[in-house]
């Protein structure tokens, strides 16, 4: 009852106020297309401004011509008819941001999708924002552990980096990204998973997985599914970026996964074609490069003077038939600081994660790699490179000398050790111990099918006997001579 009284009082107050005279900028809907409306009037509307149709239905101005205004509709566009009135709101699209977002699933406008209470916040961040300039930035030099051996050793990722994950469908792109989120437990990294044009069932499975591993406490899911309008799909990554910027401005490290930018480009293509913008290659509009470059440029590492903090971006691109030289893949490859290339053949032959080490690079991550990992990874890379050369060559030769056989054997073992089950990220020390064993030849005598068994045995022993060793390496991120000897002792004990 009290609530109703209060409610009535505010209404009374509202009604007693003399009608305020204020001018509004208005227009009329002249055409409605798939998710896009063309309006007449609105002469003084600005690019990027919000317009309101009827009750709580908003539009976002993205096209201004001499006599018309084009806007994308944020929400259900089926109710809009030609002749409807629209008024300009005078501000640009922004999303509510606060700590309470952690653990939530939201749509690109910041409304909840998980059936919980709306996100309440006094702080709003603009969805479109110019990225930090040169002065505010700092080079990438702290590592972001993915928990995946092959990536942390060979293609290290640093905080503030943009690392593309590229591959055909069903090669484990999302798995790598989600495993990376799972591995950020206790690392003080806020993770944002942004699903663009994905199946709702897939997103639900990921939300469930995050919950199961306790990763929902530091994660946010932004979802614009395949059934949402293209306008929502177009906005989703920018919203994710805006939320990331809020946490970055507070000095925190943020990881954003954009899954995936191919579908984002598709949604932008659809919008542009409906707006009759000139089409270019593969019918994408001329600014499709800028579409992704302005998004990924927002990933950065801020200098300590300006508050520190970083946004690491893991964009995902789906290729067709492994074609890395298609339009969108080449664009995004050139924007990012390296790529993780996944291949169907490797995946089917049981090498999972199916990373093609030859095609994958990390252009800035080397500086960020921890010393402990660097020490073991250098040798590993050399072993693998030699193995690749020799493996191709040895197919023609039947008689091989001892030295070559040794290289081939080592390479096969290293390839085997880089395999990893999904949703089982490993800590830095665990990775270092296994890779150390491989690169120092302790696995050379083991048959291939026993390597996995050895790995589990080693990890168990480390958990029982080497707890201190693990903690020390994880904390200092350096492996000195004594640590090496301790590890050697544990491994030799295990081999007997």
């Amino acid at each position: 009852m009290k609530l109703i009284d209060e409610y009535l009082k505010t209404l009374e107050k509202e009604l007693q106020n003399k009608p305020k005279i204020s001018t509004e900028e208005t227009g009329t809907v002249s055409q409605v297309k798939d998710g896009v409306v063309i309006l007449e009037g609105l002469d003084r509307v600005a690019y990027g401004e919000l317009i309101e149709f009827k009750k709580n239905l908003l539009g976002y101005v993205i096209d201004l011509t001499e006599d018309e205004v084009g806007a994308i509709i944020l929400g259900d566009y089926t109710g809009i008819a030609a002749g409807n009135k629209a008024k300009a709101l005078g501000y640009t699209l922004s999303v509510p941001v606060s700590e309470t977002l952690l653990g939530r699933v939201i749509d690109p406008l910041g409304s909840p999708l998980d059936g919980k209470t709306p996100i309440k916040s006094k702080t709003f961040y603009p969805v479109e924002k110019i990225a930090a300039g040169v002065v505010k930035r700092q080079p990438v030099n702290i590592s972001l552990q993915t928990g995946i051996k092959a990536i942390d050793a060979l293609i290290p990722i640093g905080r503030g980096q943009r690392e593309l994950i590229i591959g055909d469908r069903g090669t484990g792109k999302t798995t790598i990204a989600v495993d990376t989120i799972l591995n950020q437990k206790g690392q003080d990294v806020v993770c944002i998973y942004c699903a663009i044009g994905q199946k709702n069932s897939k997103v639900a499975a990921i939300v469930e997985l995050l919950k199961k591993h306790g990763a929902d406490k530091y994660s946010i899911v932004v979802n614009a599914s395949a059934s949402d309008s293209v306008a929502m799909q177009y906005l989703a990554p920018y919203t994710a970026s805006a939320i990331g910027e809020y946490f970055m401005d507070k000095g925190q490290d943020v990881l954003i996964v954009y899954d995936d930018l191919t579908k984002h480009a598709w949604s932008y293509r659809q919008m542009s074609l409906i707006l009759r913008r000139p089409a270019g290659r593969e019918a994408y509009p001329g600014d499709v490069f800028y579409l992704h470059s302005r998004l990924l440029e927002r990933a950065c590492r801020i200098d300590k003077k300006y508050g520190g903090g970083s946004i690491t971006a893991l964009p995902i691109i789906e290729t067709l038939d492994g074609d890395l030289s298609a339009y969108i893949p080449t664009n995004v490859i050139s924007i990012t600081d390296g790529q993780i290339s996944l291949e169907t053949d490797l995946f089917n032959s049981g090498i999972r994660p199916a990373i093609n080490v030859g095609l994958s690079v990390s252009r800035v991550g080397g500086n960020a790699q921890t010393k402990a990992m660097k020490a073991v990874a250098g040798k590993l890379k050399l072993d693998l490179a030699q193995y690749r050369d020799l493996a191709a060559f040895s197919q023609f030769e039947s008689e091989l000398d001892e030295e070559t056989k040794k290289f081939l054997n080592r390479g096969a073992k290293v390839t085997q050790i880089l395999k990893q089950k999904k949703n089982k990220p490993l800590s830095l020390a665990e990775q270092v111990s296994i890779l150390w064993a491989a690169s120092n030849g302790y696995l050379d005598k083991l048959p291939i099918d026993e390597i996995e068994k050895f790995e589990t045995k080693l990890l168990e022993t480390l958990k029982l006997r080497g707890k201190k060793w693990l903690e020390k390496i994880n904390k200092n991120k350096i492996m000195d001579e004594k640590d090496g000897k301790d590890l050697e002792k544990m491994i030799t004990d295990l081999m007997i």
């Binding site: 409610y7 505010t10 509202e14 509004e24």
Partner: protein, 94 residues
């Protein structure tokens, strides 16, 4: 055939002038015809508008009050307008 650039400029400025006029055209919507006193009161209230070429139109759907339109700008002082505003507010409090 080449078009005389001067002709083009003239045409452009003519169009601009026309658009300008359209943009500043005052249209008043009311439920019934306004009498002279009411019109004078309006002129007194909104002195910066061009009342000489004002157009008066009748629209029953606004229930009561008036709506003034100057190009795409709108001053809504109608009952229908305030009711729809109220309904939006009711939605928000919910």
């Amino acid at each position: 055939m080449k078009i005389n650039p001067k002709l083009k400029d003239d045409l452009k400025s003519f169009l601009m002038e026309k658009i300008q006029k359209e943009q500043n055209l005052v249209v008043v919507y009311s439920v019934d015809n306004l009498d002279i006193d009411e019109k004078k009161a309006l002129e007194k209230k909104f002195t910066d508008l061009n009342w000489k070429e004002a157009v008066y139109k009748i629209d029953k759907s606004i229930i009561a009050g008036i709506i003034i339109k100057i190009g795409s700008r709108t001053v809504d002082m109608s009952l229908a307008g305030s009711l729809s505003k109220l309904s939006n507010n009711l939605y928000e409090i919910d």
